[in-house]
């Protein structure tokens, strides 16, 4: 518990003076709270009973004054507490976001978005709430107990000893309560995270859910998670209902004990009655905050459980952090893979891949589904790191490159286009927010997206929904492509970037790309021979190995190679298409040429 707060110290330390302010003001507010009954008593005694009517206006003004002051103090101590909590929470949330922004891809392969969100909202809030009012509540409780006990000792030692005897009982109870509550709160936070990610996933996949008419299934899945969260909460209730009343009872028991012992003392003339009454009134004022103890402990335990979950994010390792001087230079684009092996976790997916791409070359990757094409290109910008061997760009191992410099000069078009909810302009300018409209237009034109964008009523201002909602598959892909082109990269990676685009459009895009990518290195992953055949080097991958390499013509020559087989399949299609078309002269000529090879 202490550990959690120690590790989070950097976040609340800068704002801690607000907590102190809050505490100080709280003390004043409490003291003023006592003035009110005192003034009332004076009105009753002096004005009403003793008929000093002239004192009424003064006393009345004093009561009003006390109310105003107390209100002011109350307001300020609460606000100072909230201020403390909010600012700490603000810093913490920023830091969490910063941290998430730097986590490697691996991390995102294993986390749930909904769970991370739950941490950054619900868990952070639980911690913030403790800081905002739990912390000063606990502190003031300690103060009250210390002062109260001191006062009691000054009034009557014996009775004070009786009260002191109760303190260990309370302390033991509190510790035991905390020990039992902590795992329960961990479960509550966890089930909440699970519920959150379940709902989040459901919303993201709502199309799939609906397409199978599986709403009822989803609802029952939800019920299970909702029920688990409910059960975890009720487990906490089971603890509360045992501990809270016990704490309350301990305090009340103190009253009974004082009445008995004090009564005995009074009867034996060790103490006078008035002192007993005074002692009891001090005890009353102590008991109310005591009954708050359970609530505050609860608050604390919850904050600790939540804090642990935040620390899990903050403490995640930073494998991409730079150690030593990093290489940052203008990239020429020469890529060398030597003996590269790659594993996802323990699973090897790529073995001993070696090739060299000279600056300005176009390298095409072809292979069966799951052969490792995406994996290979993911090594360039260090989305993942090699298990063995090395990837060098311009003769420098990518791990020695400055990450920013590396990634800014490599633009990757992911296989699954991801667009953000903002304007089409901002989506294209995602990697280059300063770009002019003209530059964005040019990039869009190159990706053959300009035409459809400009036909939209709002053009580049058109709002795109989450994940590119409102656009067709091919439109999304072309915007993602334009985004990469706008980066003006030294190395461009197209991971099946035009799969949802018709061939004619794809051809246009390739023509345009050939112009801009003059002198830059390009990696193209594609399934269509038409997309890869012009490459300077074609690498055919199978199960994480390069099984064939060379230019189109060279690869075709190998009758039994995978490349030739794929070519034949695609070509056969076109031959069939052509023959069905009957008297299509141009087609026949072309098809004969194809067969001739």
């Amino acid at each position: 518990m202490i550990d959690v707060f120690r590790r989070l110290r950097g976040f609340y330390q800068p704002h801690i003076r607000w907590l102190y302010w809050s505490l100080g003001l709280l003390v004043f507010a409490t003291a003023l709270g006592l003035a009110y009954p005192y003034l009332l008593k004076r009105i009753v005694n002096q004005v009403i009973i003793a008929h000093h009517y002239a004192q009424l206006p003064t006393l009345a003004l004093m009561i009003l004054g006390a109310a105003v002051l107390k209100g002011g103090f109350n307001w300020s101590y609460q606000y100072a507490g909230q201020y403390f909590g909010s600012h700490t929470g603000y810093d913490l949330r920023n830091q969490l976001y910063r941290k998430l922004n730097r986590q490697p891809f691996q991390y995102y392969d294993s986390v749930h978005t909904g769970d991370l969100m739950s941490r950054m909202t619900a868990d952070l809030d639980a911690l913030r709430m403790f800081l905002a009012f739990g912390a000063n509540g606990l502190a003031s409780l300690v103060l009250i107990v210390v002062f109260g006990l001191g006062l009691m000792y000054s009034m009557n030692v014996w009775l004070a000893v009786v009260v002191t005897c109760l303190m260990p009982i309370l302390a033991v109870t509190a510790v035991r309560f905390d020990n039992r509550l902590h795992p329960t709160y961990q479960r509550i936070r966890k089930t909440l995270g699970v519920l959150n990610s379940g709902v989040q996933e459901n919303i993201m996949g709502v199309r799939t859910v609906k397409s199978f008419a599986k709403e009822d299934n989803e609802i029952s899945k939800f019920q299970v998670r909702n029920g688990a969260y409910f059960a975890a909460n009720m487990d906490a209730t089971q603890l509360w209902k045992r501990f809270f009343p016990f704490i309350e009872f301990t305090g009340n028991f103190g009253v009974v004990a004082i009445v008995l012992v004090g009564g005995w003392l009074v009867m034996h003339h060790q103490m006078n009655l008035g002192d007993l009454v005074a002692f009891l009134s001090v005890l009353w004022t102590l008991i109310w905050p005591m009954s708050n103890l359970g609530f505050l402990l609860n608050n604390l335990t919850q904050a600790v459980a939540a804090g642990e979950r935040l620390l899990e994010i903050l403490d995640a390792p930073d494998p991409l952090a730079v150690t030593g001087p990093a290489h940052a230079a203008v990239m020429r684009g020469e890529v060398v893979f030597s003996g590269v092996s790659m594993k996802y976790g323990d699973e090897p997916v790529m073995e001993d891949v070696t090739f060299t791409a000279r600056a300005g070359e176009t390298i095409a990757l072809l292979g069966l589904t799951g052969a490792g094409k995406s994996t290979l290109v993911n090594l360039l910008p260090r989305f993942y790191d090699v298990a063995a061997g090395s990837v060098q760009i311009d003769g420098v191992d990518v791990r020695a490159w400055d990450l920013q410099a590396l990634r800014r000069q490599i633009a990757v078009v992911f296989q699954e286009p991801f667009l953000f909810s903002t304007t089409i302009f901002s989506n294209i300018a995602y990697g280059n927010p300063e770009a002019t409209l003209e530059a964005v237009r040019q990039a869009a034109a190159m990706a053959d997206a300009a035409e459809f964008i400009e036909q939209l009523p709002d053009g580049y201002h058109t709002l795109v929904g989450e994940r590119g909602l409102g656009l067709s598959g091919g439109q999304k892909q072309r915007i993602a492509l334009a985004r990469a082109i706008l980066m003006n990269p030294a190395i461009l990676v197209l991971d099946d970037a035009t799969s949802a685009v018709d061939m004619e459009t794809e051809y246009k895009i390739q023509q345009a790309l050939q112009r801009v990518m003059q002198g830059r290195t390009t990696f193209i992953i594609a399934h269509r021979i038409s997309s890869v055949k012009r490459a300077d080097q074609i690498l055919v991958l199978d199960r994480g190995r390069i099984v064939q390499r060379g230019r189109h013509e060279e690869l075709l020559a190998d009758e039994h190679g995978l490349y030739r087989r794929i070519f034949d399949m695609q070509f056969q299609d076109f031959a069939a298409v052509a023959s069905a078309g009957g008297s299509v002269g141009a087609l026949r000529v072309l098809s004969q040429r194809g067969n001739g090879e």
């Binding site: 109310a67 996933e201 709502v206 008419a213 909460n233 302009f425 299509v584």
Partner: protein, 611 residues
């Protein structure tokens, strides 16, 4: 720049900031409804649904109340009576009674805590379930309009923020109201005039506080709104993190997020500032109220209209009178916070599905597979036609291929067939039934769709393939996987079919994901199969293998196939060529080739690129 398709939309001038906004989250406007009693009633209905729990919790609370009142009384009695008079026996007796009172208090607290929490948690659980189930049945249009994060925030955070209100708020309000009524009755019976003078300030307080109340409510609305945006951004940012990192967009996003976060914090602190005014305000009123009482009371005293004892008694009751009022004030404040959330919840609950089954809708009998589009027109947003005047007819068992440039409207046709949206004009018939007149679940459960965006749920591969047909045996699942040639790679995974895949199927290659969703559609054994670029990310080799198997699979089923690779479509019984939302050509492959129109050009163009 051609603005050809600008339809009845006023020309808007945009600023550069609008153009470059890093992220824009629509939805979520503050609801400008007035504070409605109806809404409060609606909230309390959720509690009233559990009368037994409420009654028991009240009894337990009354036990506590009794102990808090009776305890001090007994202490006073012990001091004045037993101790003052030196009677040891009486002292012990009083102490025992006191102890019993506190034992009662213990029991009462025990049950109160249990019952109030049970009540609160149950209500929250039910409400969340109601909300989720409702949202689950809303149409896709609803989800199109708002970011997932902001839907999530309502189902999770907004519902959770009602917890306090349901756990303690309602019960405490009731007991406080009872206490208040009791004290009011006592004061009235002591002296009606004095009592009325004391009460006069209360309505004044309410009038004065309405302005504050409004401010508080608005302030919390704003807080909820910011939280919703924050969540929407988080959801998106986390999912798009790979893109952010690849394009080193971190620092811009950080700035954006910090702005958002700061905005939230400022709004929150503002809400706190006005909210915590409430307590001091009640305190101040109570001081003023006391002043009025004393001023008037002493006036009466001097006129000899009341006795000293009565006035003293009144002064003592005064504290008891203001205590519940101040607590009710706090509860009211809590209610205001809750209102900001509950109105957002109710707004969803009151949203009706735009694609809704008619009440008398019947289940579609087993589909034969005849599909007809009759002059169907559809626009996602008013003024932006996605398809126009589309008519075609598919006989049972036919394969219909849709081709055309990207954005031509092919996926839209599929969306309409599955009734994700209702057409703006025209109608769609399946086996002669207008699909709007049939139950949509009975339609969808007989259509298997491989969506263009594959979605894999986190869970095992087995469960994912089984998604549409939970009753399928493991063997059936494997057979479906074999049919799309996914079996081999699945078996090579760590735990084979039991391998857990994470969110959206990360850990699988894109092609593998697509194979899984293909297998899923096949296993659902649909009467109509829709393949929207189902093989776009799959290599030619595997695609060929699948296609051979597909002939068998498709026998007797109507199939709609969208594909850019012509090999996939040349066997189709009918090819529909789309262009800008219209069908421009239709026929079999050879017919269309002879036509030498769009389709011919498409084929020829493709051929050129290969050779």
């Amino acid at each position: 720049m051609s603005q050809a398709q600008v339809v009845q939309r006023p020309e808007r001038v945009y600023t550069d900031a609008e153009l470059r906004a890093p992220f824009i989250y629509r939805d979520d406007e503050a609801l400008e409804k007035k504070f409605q009693l109806g809404q409060m009633k609606r909230l309390f209905k959720y509690v009233a649904n559990h009368p037994r729990l409420v009654a028991l919790a009240l009894i337990a609370t009354l036990g506590n109340l009794f102990a808090t009142l009776f305890g001090p009384y007994m202490v006073g009695r012990a001091i004045d009576g037993a101790i003052g008079q030196g009677m040891t026996g009486a002292l012990v007796a009083d102490a025992v009674i006191l102890l019993l009172t506190y034992a009662l208090n213990y029991v009462a607290s025990h049950y109160r805590i249990y019952l109030t929490n049970l009540l609160g948690q149950t209500v929250i659980q039910r409400l969340r379930e109601e909300l989720f189930s409702h949202v689950q049945r809303l149409s896709l249009g609803f989800f199109d309009e708002r970011p997932a994060g902001s839907v999530l925030v309502r189902i999770m955070n907004d519902v959770n923020s009602l917890q306090d209100l349901f756990t303690n708020g309602v019960i405490n309000s009731i007991t406080n109201i009872f206490t208040l009524v009791g004290i009011v009755v006592i004061m009235l019976s002591l002296n009606a005039r004095l009592a009325l003078v004391t009460f006069i300030i209360v309505p004044i307080m309410f009038v004065v506080s309405t302005r504050l109340t409004l401010t508080i409510r608005r302030a919390w609305q704003q807080v909820r709104l910011r939280l919703s945006r924050l969540n929407a951004h988080l959801a998106e940012a986390i999912q798009g993190m790979r893109v952010t990192e690849a394009y080193t967009r971190q620092s811009e996003n950080q700035t954006f997020f910090e702005g958002m976060n700061r905005d939230w914090m400022n709004r929150f602190l503002h809400a706190q500032r006005v909210s915590i005014l409430f307590g001091p305000m009640v305190d101040l009123t109570s001081a003023v109220g006391s002043m009025i009482l004393f001023w008037y009371g002493i006036h009466l005293l001097r006129a000899g209209l009341v006795t000293v004892g009565l006035l003293v008694a009144f002064a003592n009751y005064l504290g008891n009178f203001w205590q519940p009022i101040s607590q009710l004030g706090n509860l009211y404040n809590q209610l205001l916070v809750a209102m900001a959330s509950s109105e957002r919840i109710f707004q969803y609950l009151d949203t009706e599905a735009s694609v809704k089954d008619r009440l008398d809708a019947e289940a579609l009998p087993e589909i034969r597979g005849e599909v007809a589009f009759e002059r169907v027109t559809f626009e996602y947003e008013p003024g932006r036609r996605a398809i126009e005047d589309v008519s075609f007819r598919a006989e049972p068992g036919q394969t219909i291929a849709l081709v055309g440039h990207t954005g031509a409207g092919k996926s839209t046709v599929m969306n309409l067939l599955a009734r994700f949206y209702d057409p703006t004009g025209g109608r769609i018939l399946v086996d002669g039934h207008d699909i709007r007149e049939m139950r949509s679940d009975s339609l969808r459960s007989q259509i298997g769709i491989v969506l263009q965006d594959t979605f894999i749920f986190s869970g095992t591969i087995l469960d994912n393939i089984r998604y549409g047909n939970p009753a399928a045996s493991d063997d059936d699942v494997m057979a479906a996987a074999c049919a799309v040639y996914a079996d081999e790679f699945i078996r090579e995974l760590e735990n084979g079919y039991h391998t857990e895949v994470r969110e959206r199927g990360s850990r699988l290659s894109m092609g593998q994901r697509q194979l899984l969703s293909f297998a899923r559609a096949i296993l659902a054994d649909p009467r109509i199969l829709v393949l929207d670029e189902a093989t776009a990310s799959i290599d030619t080799y595997t695609e060929h293998l699948i296609q051979k198997g597909l002939q068998v699979l498709l026998a007797g089923r109507t199939a709609f196939v969208v594909a850019h690779r012509l090999s996939t479509i040349r066997e189709a019984d009918q090819i529909l060529v789309f262009d800008h939302g219209h069908i421009v050509e239709r026929g079999t492959h050879s017919e269309l080739m002879q036509l030498r129109g769009h389709y011919y050009q498409l084929v020829e163009a493709q051929y050129q690129f290969l050779a």
